[in-house]
Structure formats: C-alpha cells, structure tokens
Symmetry: C2
Subunit: 492 residues, 2 copies
C-alpha cells in the first residue's frame, strides 16, 4: 500500500496528491473543484475545530450562523471588496426544477427566475454587516464578537485538495467595536490565537506578520497573517486576521451612539482559518511513507497490531491489548486495536504508517509470554522492545515527545531555510531554491509587483515577532532606503 506513494524527491506535488487520496483524507467529487472529505480526514478537521473553538471561547467568542446566500446588490456596496471578491463565485438564478417536457429528466423552470440573483457566500462580511446594523444601536451593544463555522464557495479555476477548492470549510470571525484601537487589538489577539494553535497543535512553526498593502484582504486596512514553510521551501498562508476599519460599517450604515450621545461608525475585524490547514499539516510533516500526524490531531494516537498464528493466540493477545487500551483511554488517548483477521501484520503496519498514526504497538505470543511489546514511533520510524508492565505511562510521555519532536523538526527545517539576501542578483539565484528570503524592500507596491513578475516571489509578510528584521538597509530591487527586512517567498 505505502509503496504506491510517489516520493517527494520524484514529484513533490504528486506526493501530496497521493497522500491525500491514499491516506483516505479526501477525494475529488463529481462536482468540479469540490472535494469529499472522507471520515479519516474529517476526524482530523473535527479535532482542529474542537480545539480551536475552545480557544475562541476562552477569549469571548460566540458562535452564530448567517445565511449561505448573499443578495448580489450587497457586493456593490463595498467598492474594494467587490473588486477582490465578487468575481469568481457561484450564482443562484432560479429556484425551481421541472420535469423536462420531452421526458428527459429535469430542467430548470424558466418561470422560476429570482428577482435578484443570490451569491453563494465567498466570505460573509457583507451579509453579516447587514445584520449587525440591527444589533447595534448604542455603545452598550459593543463589542460583538461572533464566529461561524461554515462552508464557502470561490469558483477557483485551478484546484488542489485542501489547498484550493471551490467549496471549502472554514471559520470566519466578525467583530464590531467602538474604537479603532479596540478593533486593532482584537485583530492582533486573534492572529496570535492562530499562531499558538499552529505551533502547539499543528506542530507548525509560523511567522506572524502584516501583509503588504498589495496582499491585503479586499476591504481591509491591515491584514495580519501566519505564514508557514512547507517541505519544498514554499510558503503557505495558514490563517489571516483583518482590521477592516469602518469600511463595512459605512457601506451598511452601521452607527452607534457613543456615551456622549454622538453617532459614530463602528470598527470591524474579521479572521479565518480553513480546511487549508489540512494541506499545511500534510505538507509540513509527512514523509515518503505517508502522513506524519502530530498526536494532538491524530484521530488514532496508538494502534495495536496483534501477531498470531492460531485463533487461540489471537484471542489471548487481543485480550491483553484490551487491558492496555482501557488504561490508555483512561489517560485520555485514542486507541485502536487492529483486529482484522484477513490482513497480514506487514500490510497493517504499512497502512497505519501511511495514515500517520503516531505510535504503533505490536504484540506476538513470544511478547505475551515475555511480558514485552514492540513500540514503533511514526515520526522517527524507530522501534523498541519494551516491558509491557507500565507501558501506558511511557506512551503517555512518548506522545508528548513526538508532538514536540515534530515541531522541532519543522522548526529546524524552516530556520535552516530562512536566509538574508542583499542583492538582486543573489535574490534571483536564491529564490528558486525555495525558503524564506529576508530582504529590504522600498515599501512600494510597484517594486513588489516587479519582483513578482520577474520571480513569482511575493512578500509573505512583514514580521512582527522577530527582531532579526529590524535594521536599516537598501531595497534589493531599487536600492532605495528601507527600515526593516520583509519575507519574500514563492507561495502556495
């Protein structure tokens, strides 16, 4: 099974696609660009949702639900937002099917045309601000800190599972505040919730920074981002948090009476992460044998494979495994005993390796008699024979160790692929090797665009959490003065 995965060296892109399909994460559907998230893949996404949702609730976020459809006219209200979003999207024009008069299945009923077309939400700022208008009168109604977990649709021309799909799942937070300072602080707080989640749960080292004006969300005054590095050295934007100023409040006329009785426009933020995180998770940690899942997100943390010849032996081994399973579950771990009787142990080993289960325990009759088990780690691919007695506390510790090790490995890979670059000639040579290039930039959109045209590299972010960028220098492209380095990279 695992043999069928293309190696990273052979074809990185095909390796990724192979993993998605062969590890049972997702597959293409009959609808162009829309994927099916299979149970194993969805179980990982559910864990992400549940952990992140708990973090949101700790910082006062309330979940709600807003309509899937947005009236077309709403997209005309916020000029910049239209330009950025209202283009490639799914448009509902009719509300009825009818039997084909020629008897060939069903056709759209031409009489059931909608008065105004509806857009399947590509993001919900417009519909949500049309609702917030009803919720906000006075400063007492603020802040509003809502989030929704939902599906959105952007009619992408070129799609890849998880990384870029026509329909995807995400959360979108939308907040309303009395002051600019409070809104900016919220946008900043949320990008750090994402950064902590990426580091601690996804085991994904990320750089937090501001997007350059060119790369901002349509309608935002500032976009904060977490940027991760994949194993091919490309950057992946893993989450964003936007300070929207008063743009949406003005478009939808959302004002509040301040405590001096004066009307003022409300300040906004929005922030989101999506099933794209699944793509980041896969690409950051996995190897040529398959997925490598951080224990915090693994639907199965420990799998046990019995090795036996007779049915009596099988029963004895599985009975012993059940005891260990109960102990591990009592410690809060998820465990599976692979008791399938039609498959060889070697096949099972390869399958669970492909699916990225962090710890594998094998037990045969000799183990049972000797009171030992074989413990295999997915992250290092190492095996060790250990005493069965007290093994549960070892595994408990081991899972933490694996989580840390996966992070450390990704961090060390990333840090060895971040380098300073001070001339245009050097930049052109270095950028094709992948990685993050720390460069001086003159701050203009024009320079940024020229660099992108010539090299496909973009400014991933202007980092806020690293001192290494804080220095004077000259723009690599124009030689004009620059006060800090920014990160350039080729991105997904």
């Amino acid at each position: 099974m695992a043999k069928e995965v293309t190696t990273r060296a052979e074809n990185y892109s095909q390796w990724y696609n192979d993993l998605v399909v062969k590890a049972d994460l997702a597959e293409q559907s009959a609808v162009r660009g829309c994927m099916v998230i299979k149970p194993y893949g969805y179980a990982i996404w559910e864990k992400m949702q549940s952990i992140l949702d708990a973090e949101f609730k700790k910082v006062g976020v309330h979940n709600a639900y807003f309509p899937l459809f947005i009236p077309k006219s709403f997209f005309s209200k916020e000029a910049e937002h239209v330009a950025g979003f209202a283009k490639e999207c799914a448009v509902v024009t009719h509300h009825r099917l009818m039997n084909d008069p020629n008897g060939k299945g069903v056709v759209v009923d031409p009489d059931a045309r909608l008065e105004e077309e509806l857009i399947v939400r590509p993001t919900s700022e417009t519909i949500i601000w049309s609702v917030y208008k009803n919720w906000i009168n006075s400063w007492r109604d603020l802040p509003i800190i809502c989030n929704q977990w939902c599906n959105v649709v952007r009619w992408e021309m070129r799609t890849r599972p998880f990384l870029r799909t026509a329909e995807f799942l995400w959360q979108e937070g939308h907040t309303a505040h009395a002051t600019a300072e409070e809104a900016e602080a919220k946008a900043n707080e949320m990008v750090h919730v994402y950064a902590d989640f990426a580091r601690n749960v996804l085991a994904l080292p990320v750089v937090v920074g501001h997007k350059s004006p060119n790369e901002r969300f349509a309608g935002a005054l500032d976009t904060l981002t977490i940027e991760a590095m994949m194993q091919d050295g490309k950057a992946l934007q893993a989450g964003t948090s936007h300070f929207l100023g008063q743009n949406f409040a003005k478009s939808f006329d959302v004002q509040y009476t301040n405590n001096e009785g004066k009307l003022e426009y409300v300040w906004a933020t929005s922030w989101g992460v999506s099933t794209r995180l699944m793509g980041a998770l896969i690409m950051a940690h996995s190897d040529d044998n398959g997925l490598v899942l951080p224990p915090a997100l693994a639907p199965i943390q420990t799998v046990m494979v019995p090795i036996y010849k007779s049915q009596e032996d099988r029963a004895a081994i599985i009975a012993r495994m059940e005891v260990l399973k109960a102990k591990l579950e009592a410690l809060g771990h998820s465990v599976k005993i692979d008791d399938r009787d039609t498959l060889r142990p070697g096949f099972k080993f390869a399958e669970w390796e492909l699916k990225g289960v962090p710890v594998r325990i094998a037990m045969g009759m000799r183990d049972l008699e000797a009171g030992t088990v074989e413990v295999a780690r997915r992250d290092t691919l190492t095996k060790e024979t250990m005493a069965l007695e007290g093994i549960e506390s070892h595994i408990h510790t081991l899972l933490d160790e694996i989580q840390t090790n996966i992070y450390t490995k990704a961090l060390s890979f990333r840090d060895s692929n971040i380098r300073k670059c001070d001339s245009w000639e050097e930049f052109k040579q270095e950028i094709v090797k992948g990685g993050f290039l720390l460069c001086h930039w003159d701050g203009t959109a024009e320079t940024e665009e020229k660099i992108k045209e010539e090299t496909k590299a973009t400014i991933r972010c202007i980092p806020i959490d690293t001192a290494v960028c804080e220095e004077e220098g000259k723009c690599i492209y124009t030689g004009k003065p620059s006060h800090r380095r920014v990160i350039f990279a080729i991105s997904y």
Copy 2:
C-alpha cells in the same frame, strides 16, 4: 421586556414568533426564508449537536463531508426521489460576476454559464451514493456508516423560523449495508437514538412509528419517525430515519461482491434531524413569560443577579457569587453572574425568564449577612429563600429535578391529549380540538387522502412502541376492517 411577548391564548403563532425574536434565538435576514441564528440560539443548537454527535459515535457513526452542490442530472437518476425533492431548490447557473458596463455595481457575466446547472443540496442521497460507488467493492467494505453536519436548502414558499426555512442546518446520516435486514436494523436503531435524545435531552415525549406510504421520504421503502405534540395540540415531526432499500444503489450502480463472489446491490438507510428541533423545543415547553429550557440544553443553567445600592455592596455580593460560581462550575454547570451595572434587578429577572434560564439566584446585602440566597425556578416560577452554605449541591439536584419536571409536564399534557376515536362524525369534531387521535384506518392511500382533504389531518405515524394501538377494529372513514390504530393529527 417579557411583557412584550404575545400570550399563547391570544395568538399561539405570534407567541412563537415573539419568543424566537425576543429571546434572541433567531431573526429573518435580507434573504427570503433564510434566518440568522443568533448567538444565544446557536449555543442551544451547539449543545444539541454535541450531545447527539457523541451518541452517534457510540453507535459507530463517522462524520465526513460531501459537496454542497449536486449536478442536475443526478436528480434524474432516482425517479421517486426526483418527484419528491427536485422541485423547489436553489439552482446555480453561473460562476462569475462582472462590473456592470453601465457602472451600476455588478451583474452576472453571461459568458460564465455552467455547462450543467448545479443544485444546492436539499438532501444528499444522490451525491453521496455517487461517491459510495467508489468506496464499495467487496463485502469487506461494508457497512459504511457516515454522517455529515451541514446546511441544506429547500425553496419553501411559506417559511417560519426554525420550523420551515429555505436554508437550515441539520445532520444527515447515510449508511450502506450488505443485507436488507442489517439496513432495516440500522434505520430502527437510529430512530431510537433520536427518540432517546428527544426524551432525555429535549425533555420531549415522542411517539416512534412508521410513516404511512403516502408520507414516506421520496425514494424510501419505509420511513420511521419521532412525532411530538406541541402545546396547541398540533403534531411536529422531529426526526426521521429511512430504509431506502436498493433504490439509490441501483440508480448509481453501487454493487459489492459478496463472500461467495457474486455481485449484489447495496442496501441503504438515511436519517436526519435539523434546526427544526429548536422549534419543537420552544413550542413544547415555553410559557407566556418566555422560553423554558431543559437544563441539559440551557447555555446558561444558573444566572445570578446581585441586588445592591452601593458599589461596595455590589463588590461584596459579586465576590461571594464568584465563589459559588466556581463551585457550580466544578460540578459541570454553566453559570453567569449578571453584573451589568446599568440595569435594574427586575429588568434582569424578566430578561433571564424570557431567555429560559432554569435557575436564578438573587442575593442582596441582607442575604449576604444572613447567609441566604433566593433561588427561583424557571419551570414552576416558584421562589425560595435558602441557606447559602451547601447551596451548590442543592442546585445540582435541582437541575435534574427541573429536567425531569419539564419532561413530565410535557408527557402529561401529551397523554391527556391522546384519545381514541371510533366514528367519522366524532373524528371531525375532535380533530379541530387538537391532539393525537388514535383511529382505525383501512390502510389505503385513498382513504388517507380523503381524510386529509376533509379535515387537514394526516397520519402522523403507525406507532411501534405502544400496545394501546394493537387491536382489531373498523376504519373510521370506510368502515373496512383494520388491525391496529394509527395516529391522526393536524401537523406543522
């Protein structure tokens, strides 16, 4: 605040609409028939989801996610399903907007017409069975037991919040089995998961039964249902579970090789509950003062209201409340201290009553000095002054008691509104009074339709869990022989 709610006696339907809006559960959006579920309403739905999802997982259900869009041609594949479902739905015909050449906002790009129209899922049997075809080859691949939590759209002409909306949230389970017996057993198992959930969590007594052939889901061989009675005596279908036979397997050519090497079509079930449960919850238990929430679903189970004159008193009371809050939270309860300083206690009492919080605790300076609190129950509207010492264990017990009492009250109401009815004249008189009428029926669709035409009453179900229906008799309408009574009622 609470005074603004219309009473049930005055106008039951308006009372319901008032509660939905004034208790901050949901509101209409700018899109016809699509509601906004507000944070307080969504928190109740989230609790339903989380409890039901855990019950699903106990019986081996795996969550997954399938596309929002269904190619139009899929609806032509299952003949009965088309007739029942493919009519009123949202049809996506285009995938791009463009700037209006006249400069007036955005218009649909006529060049971006889809080759085949896409339907926003009204239910997902067709798209899921097109996927199951890839997942199923041998008997070893069966059973498949998947569920998805998602949004669906049915273009209803007359909508009411939660009860009937164009877009709603639900879960839909779809299972695939090797044999008819196994599929039927699964459909039966799931309707009982719903019944237990309704009784134990929603505090909603339900009757489990089969739908008559007329009322079956489009494409099903058998539909099981849970039917609840609302306070106006009308029936509400709260969840359904369908045995689909091999209809979808045949339409999408899903066959498996059995253990004798022969190809056979796969057997199917599907089952779902939706945000309609919110409507059932509201209508079954609430009163003229507002919502009455069963503790198991209340986002806030205990609210504490401090009563004070000075800021010193306020601080002292709130400090004591914090201690109690921590104790209650340690017992697993959700607690809110209403420390808003701009509102009078009476206003707060009315607001939390309207929002259905099961237990309210009030504490003033005299209480603080005497070591007492006032404990008010939402379900009975009774108040009692009690010793503060050890109050947490009293509240712990009280919440259980309230849960039971709400169920018992609804059960006793329902049972006092179930009556046998043996003649057509009596039926016509009784049906307008509301309630469930247990009647003999000759088993024909024709009779069922005539009864519906004349009285609007339908067969809610042929109960499976009550012996009271098991007797010989004569059809109330035709006088033909009948072997058991069925439930007739006017329904939502």
